[in-house]
């Protein structure tokens, strides 16, 4: 993935319709033969316009992805948020070791003694422990696991 995550788009990069698309299409997309036509109709645009706008929003990095969101646990796998307290002088070396695991989906540096937070996504539940132990063995640092116990509604709205 080479999208420019840390670039802020100019305020005029999105028009009102683009914002309406981002808001509406976070909630779902039709499973119909012409879904862009159907989703576009609800937004007052044609399917062809919706396709063109989605392609542009992706190309400029306003959206990172458009498609099915899979639940790893429901598919027989697992997700787990993990954290490590990495000594600053080892940070880059540990980051390289952690990121080398394909099971590491996201990894963020954060302002805390626990300064490295990453999500493990594995296609079997025991893959979480196995990967966490492998990282502990490689780095000599403890990997703390914070699996989700309950999830509350997810939403994000841009100013429409």
């Amino acid at each position: 993935m080479t999208r420019p995550f840390r670039t802020v788009l100019p305020s005029d990069a999105l028009d009102e319709t683009d914002r309406a698309i981002i808001n509406a299409l976070q909630d779902g997309f039709p499973l119909t033969p012409r879904p862009y036509d159907d989703a576009g109709a609800a937004l007052g645009i044609t399917g062809a316009d919706l396709i063109a706008r989605l392609g542009r929003l992706r190309d400029i990095g306003a959206i990172t992805r458009f498609g099915p969101f899979f639940d790893a646990a429901e598919m027989g796998g697992a997700f787990c948020l993990c954290a490590m307290a990495v000594p600053p002088d080892q940070f880059d070396a540990v980051m390289t070791q952690v990121n080398a695991h394909p099971e590491v989906a996201h990894n963020y540096e954060r302002t805390h003694a626990l300064n490295m937070w990453f999500v493990l996504a594995t296609d079997s539940p025991d893959g979480i422990d196995r990967t966490a132990r492998a990282i502990e063995n490689e780095t000599g640092l403890r990997v703390m696991q914070f699996p989700k116990l309950e999830e509350y509604f997810i939403g994000f709205r841009v100013r429409a």
């Binding site: 995550f5 840390r6 802020v8 788009l9 305020s11 999105l14 981002i22 299409l25 976070q26 909630d27 779902g28 997309f29 499973l31 119909t32 033969p33 012409r34 879904p35 862009y36 036509d37 399917g47 396709i51 989605l54 400029i60 990095g61 306003a62 959206i63 990172t64 992805r65 458009f66 498609g67 099915p68 969101f69 899979f70 639940d71 429901e74 598919m75 027989g76 948020l81 952690v98 990121n99 989906a105 996201h106 990894n107 963020y108 540096e109 954060r110 805390h112 626990l114 937070w117 296609d123 989700k148 116990l149 309950e150 999830e151 509350y152 509604f153 997810i154 939403g155 994000f156 841009v158």
Partner: protein, 165 residues
């Protein structure tokens, strides 16, 4: 979920693999996926619908890039909330429009007393702190401690990938 039954059959897995990078941006995207896999459009739609009904697909949707959209301050707010009050309060926090992800997670005592995690996004840290104060007001005396961890660097970001074996 029965432990012995495969959660996804082989055809499901092929559909997942064909769409995990994104849905084709063409007039008939499910027909396009079907053509690649030697299936019919109706079968792809039916299987995606079944996966969605079972919760294996949460939804077909866009993932906004918060940072690009001006939400440059991103804080993981964490809260130590009385266990018996987490479900009701978590639902209220999760419903706030500026909270993208809200989860109950285990504590790791003594170092980590927090059991409610809420991602807060804003145009600046001051804006995030304002939102954090709104969360604190809702939690009230159910909250015994709190912290916020700002992200200072994205070290890696990829989507979920199924192994192709």
């Amino acid at each position: 979920m029965t432990p012995d039954a495969p959660v996804l059959d082989l055809v499901d897995r092929r559909i997942v693999q064909a769409t995990q990078a994104g849905l084709p941006l063409v007039e008939a995207p499910y027909a396009a996926v079907a053509a690649d896999l030697g299936l019919t459009e109706a079968e792809v739609i039916a299987r995606l619908g079944a996966l969605q009904d079972r919760g294996a697909i949460r939804r077909i949707a866009v993932a906004p890039n918060h940072y690009a959209l001006g939400m440059t301050a991103n804080g993981m707010s964490v809260w130590d909330v009385a266990d018996d009050r987490v479900p009701a309060l978590g639902a209220r926090i999760g419903a706030l429009p500026f909270v993208t992800h809200c989860y109950r997670r285990p504590r790791a005592l003594p170092a980590w007393p927090y059991n409610l995690f809420a991602m807060l996004h804003g145009g600046s840290r001051a804006e995030v702190e304002e939102k954090r104060a709104q969360v604190a007001a809702i939690l009230g005396d159910a909250c015994r401690g709190a912290d916020i961890l700002y992200s200072t660097r994205i070290l890696k970001k990829t989507g979920l990938r199924l192994r192709e074996d």
